[in-house]
């Protein structure tokens, strides 16, 4: 037998995995002397089942602090959060976020927030002004008036990005410590009236004016959020 052509363990593994070329498979099957080696390489049938049983023992995913980077791509964070909870398939609804689904991307990101995420004093005023100036350059909208929303304490303004487009996030806490956010990003639509619904267990109202999309989200009271949204829209 030609030594350089001897059947290797790697060949046998590929064969056992159904991945070896047909000629090699024929060779292996027609050589009874390979029997003991194949036997020695054969895994127990219950391997997969034993490992799958471990999944049920996994603890619940601990709650995470949201990413705090000024430039975190929002869709990635949202996608990650969703993927950890619902499975690996990252839905087109999140990645295809330039259409109406950008609101869901924002909502799934906001779902990560807790009171502690925004604990402490409000952001330095100079930094807020910087961020709002960037937002104005990117969207044409001056968002300063939106720092004041009845019932909410403004905490910080952040630059994020969705699908490569600029996203402004203004973060607030209400009197009960519930996190709220107002997000602003250029969108493809020109105008859309207020639309309110629950997303990821949060009340969210979104609208579009002059090609710029807005979403106000937080808490579970859809009447309240829609009222706030109406106020904000009027003030801008």
């Amino acid at each position: 037998m030609d030594q350089t052509n001897a059947v290797t363990d790697a060949d046998l593994v590929a064969y056992l995995d159904g991945l070896c070329p047909p000629e090699m498979a024929r060779r292996i099957e027609s050589d009874p002397s390979l029997g003991p080696r194949l036997q020695a390489l054969t895994l127990p049938d219950e391997l997969q089942a034993e490992f799958d049983a471990l999944l049920a023992q996994a603890p619940a995913m601990p709650s995470m602090q949201a990413a705090n980077s000024d430039t975190a791509p929002l869709r990635n964070v949202a996608a990650l959060a969703a993927a950890f909870v619902v499975g690996v398939a990252i839905s087109a609804a999140i990645f295809g976020a330039r259409g109406p689904n950008w609101v869901d991307a924002v909502a799934s990101y906001q779902a990560l927030y807790v009171a502690e995420t925004l604990a402490g004093p409000a952001q330095d005023a100079g930094r807020t002004a910087e961020v709002l100036a960037q937002a104005r350059a990117a969207t044409g909208v001056d968002m300063s008036a939106a720092k004041v929303i009845e019932g909410l304490a403004f905490k910080r303004a952040q630059v994020l990005s969705i699908d490569g487009a600029f996203l402004l996030q203004l973060a607030y806490l209400d009197d009960a410590g519930r996190p709220f956010a107002l997000c602003v990003t250029p969108v493809a639509t020109d105008v859309a009236d207020l639309a309110t619904k629950m997303r990821f267990d949060l009340a969210a109202t979104h609208w579009v004016d002059g090609g710029v999309g807005f979403v106000l989200i937080g808490g579970e009271d859809i009447v309240r959020v829609e009222d706030m949204a109406r106020q904000v829209r009027a003030a801008l």
Binding site: Q48, M61, M64, Q65, A83, V85
Partner: protein, 156 residues
């Protein structure tokens, strides 16, 4: 397909062979993943990236531990701390199959679990472990032999 967090935890359990360490590693990996979304390129596979991240975090911890114990700096691939056979008290699995897998050296254990439990291809695992496909094949062969049906105690 199962949700990612239980799979990540299971993977952490295979890596660390200790439930408390697994809980810890899974959480650390999530936090690291959430803070590094800029490293996750659209179109690449989230799950593979997360598993690779978990393994890297764990190997760094092992290496730091080895350095503290005076073993000096060794290439990550040569860390054979995992070679020490766990004694009966630290066996965390009731089943014999799981115990045998747990007893494998780290590189073989990883290859085995990534291919035969998580279902990745040889090529995908080669990429995740940053070694040639041939290396994955030899690790699979070695792992199979140790975990195989009629392995007898004291062999190898």
């Amino acid at each position: 397909m199962a949700a990612l967090y239980p799979r990540l935890w299971r993977f952490a359990l295979v890596l660390t062979r200790d439930r408390a360490a697994a809980d810890d590693l899974a959480q650390k990996t999530c936090e690291r993943a959430l803070s590094r979304t800029d490293q996750f390129a659209e179109g690449t596979h989230l799950d593979r990236w997360v598993f690779t991240l978990a393994r890297r975090i764990w190997l760094n911890e092992l290496r730091a531990g080895a350095v503290r114990r005076g073993a000096g700096v060794v290439p990550v691939e040569e860390i054979e701390i995992a070679d020490e056979k766990p004694d009966a008290e630290t066996n965390i699995f009731a089943s014999e199959v799981l115990t045998r897998v747990q007893a494998l050296p780290e590189a073989q254990r990883m290859a085995m679990v990534l291919v035969y439990v998580e279902g990745y291809t040889y090529g995908e695992v080669a990429e995740m472990m940053d070694v040639p496909v041939g290396t994955i094949m030899s690790r699979l062969a070695a792992a199979r032999k140790r975990v195989a049906k009629d392995v007898t105690h004291g062999s190898d």
